[in-house]
Symmetry: C2
Subunit: 370 residues, 2 copies
């Protein structure tokens, strides 16, 4: 048999955060696509849309009127998936397999900017910094609220990703339970932290000198020659890379590389500035890849909530990071379907993460529309 070539031979890679594998089938990129194509994202949106419930001064379905805000605005989601406490106790389970766990919490919306037609990729870094400040403050506000165990900040961008309004905005769901995925990730970070032998001596470590899975990983990625590896863009504090275990075609992980940072609450002003810069640089490349407004879901994973007086500091093994899951695969209209085998058996991708990173690195750092 030939020597192993990751761009030819099917193989599996392991995601150490979720403990799941991804099947990589690079030769499948040659398959012709005869299936469904996606509608193009709207272009030429107005700067202000009188029918948009997120534009400054307009009314929402609750009847509330938006402020004439001039950078960001936060409000409670009018169709929240969870409701504030108190709520009733759950019923007794009729069978042990059918237990009900009541959940309380809050759902907030963060409008990113007054302009209806802009996205992160169009905003100057200073405006992105104001969004980061909102993330920091809502993480503190909701995360210190009685009974809240996790603050999930995320953004659905593009109609393809279930976003029903192009006005730039994100969401925050704060819950009385740690949700499935952050809880699995946190357990993986704790397991890694408990094994002193796994980390290289040079990578940053956690607050008590424990190994950090993500600090170690990003340290290794930075040691790979930049034109061969998985890094798309980096700066003084942050790296944006296509992780070794990426499942979405152009998935990106954004994380700090210079030291261990448990949460948004730990960021210095300089780290916030460079954070805004890397988000700008990577979202511009996303748009440039297919000369379109690139759809994605983004989520921030970090310490579940800010440390409480006398609370368990074990959670400081969390290392702040953002996942970007964009669905497009081949062009502005052909996405990767997460269906069949992927839903029933295992994540699967065609393009290798290295090929994806290479394509994103090759994109200009100036937005195609300018």
């Amino acid at each position: 048999a030939d020597a192993f070539d990751p761009t030819t031979h099917p193989h599996r890679r392991f995601n150490p955060l979720t403990n799941e594998h991804v099947l990589v089938s690079p030769h499948r990129t040659k398959r012709p696509w005869l299936g469904q194509t996606e509608a193009p994202q709207p272009t030429n949106l107005p700067q202000y849309d009188p029918a948009c419930y997120l534009c400054p001064g307009n009314s929402r379905s609750s009847g509330d009127k938006n402020d004439t805000y001039d950078h960001t605005m936060v409000f409670r989601n009018d169709f929240a998936a969870v409701l504030p406490p108190p709520g009733p106790l759950g019923p007794a389970a009729p069978h042990p397999l059918l237990a009900t766990q009541p959940v309380q919490g809050d759902c907030d919306v963060i409008i990113f900017h007054p302009r209806h037609d802009l996205t992160l990729a169009h905003l100057p870094a200073e405006d992105i910094e104001k969004i980061i400040e909102e993330w920091v403050s809502i993480y503190h506000k909701r995360g210190t609220q009685e009974g809240i165990k996790y603050v999930q900040i995320f953004e659905n961008k593009g109609a393809m990703m279930g976003c029903s309004n192009p006005h730039p905005h994100g969401q925050v769901w704060s819950l009385s339970e740690v949700p499935t995925i952050p809880s699995i990730e946190l357990a993986s970070l704790k397991r890694y932290a408990s094994n002193p032998d796994v980390s290289s001596s040079e990578a940053p470590r956690g607050p008590n000198g424990e190994p950090c899975l993500l600090c170690e990983y990003v340290h290794y990625e930075r040691s790979v020659p930049q034109d061969e590896g998985r890094i798309v863009v980096q700066n003084e504090h942050w790296v944006a890379l296509v992780p070794w275990w990426a499942t979405w075609p152009f998935e990106i992980l954004v994380l700090p590389h210079h030291c261990h940072i448990p949460s948004l609450a730990h960021l210095t002003p300089e780290e916030k500035t460079s954070f805004a810069q890397i988000l700008s640089a990577m979202t511009i490349r996303y748009d440039n890849l297919f000369s379109s407004s690139f759809a994605y879901s983004m989520g921030i994973h970090q310490r579940p909530v800010p440390a409480k007086e006398g609370a368990d500091d074990e959670d400081d093994v969390a290392h702040l990071h953002l996942h970007f899951f964009p669905p497009l695969l081949r062009s502005a209209s052909v996405k990767k379907f997460i269906v069949g085998f992927e839903l029933m058996a295992e994540a699967q991708r065609d393009l290798t993460p290295e090929q994806a990173a290479q394509k994103l690195r090759a994109c200009s750092d100036v937005h195609y529309s300018t």
Copy 2:
């Protein structure tokens, strides 16, 4: 606070197969939908399409010509995600977090019927039985092949679910590793089997008298008054129900209820006949729900491969079942988006499983097109 009402109060349910929670937010069904809608499924397809690579007698992209088959036909996928052995060994990992596991195997396509325009919902049960026979024989053929550890049979139906050809067909990916999800499910079944106290005395048990999670679950579901519970349709051997832990709006689990059945290889002729009948009955209801050809991904989970001489019979704790994951939520054109919170934190649903089962039960058992 009021008494707990599952159709009003947000809560979580636990999926004992995958060990994941789902957040249920029933009051969100009131949310107006302003986002993307799906294109209608094609109607009035021809019985034979000269351009279809699955129709009898036509050529495929490999250059091979289809037989003029008269019920089902199986062939190797021309764009397989895995390739048969031998393959090269994987490279040494440059870092423990970046290990490569080569995978070999086969990808097959099963054409369900010569008619281009029919789906399971249109086929008489006798024709579905022929598809079941193909599943049985490919499970045996691939599963007894050297080095194969799992045979994943599945179907993507509808353009919305990544299916690029409406001609009725399914797929079979056979791999040299047990994929992530079947491996998690099998571990859950084994854990349940090892605890003698968890099962009711009346539910069927595994081959050595061990408790079976799914036999126990379906036994409980059958004890609930039929107009209140989650069962959509049942017959002598099989139940189709919306599981307590369903994440897709109209998700269905199909499984045998009268005894423990590890795999397709264990089915008697009578069980195959009633299997075909329940698949017909439930797919007709799916189509009738929104008077449209209902898209879904379907996957069969069972014993990874048929028992080998002298091999570990531990895997007989597997209980054959089929998952149907259909994306539609409100109408033939409005689907549930698995995005943002769902991808980053936890599965989430609006409609309760009980409400979904109720709507499916209320559908006629005669196809709307007849």
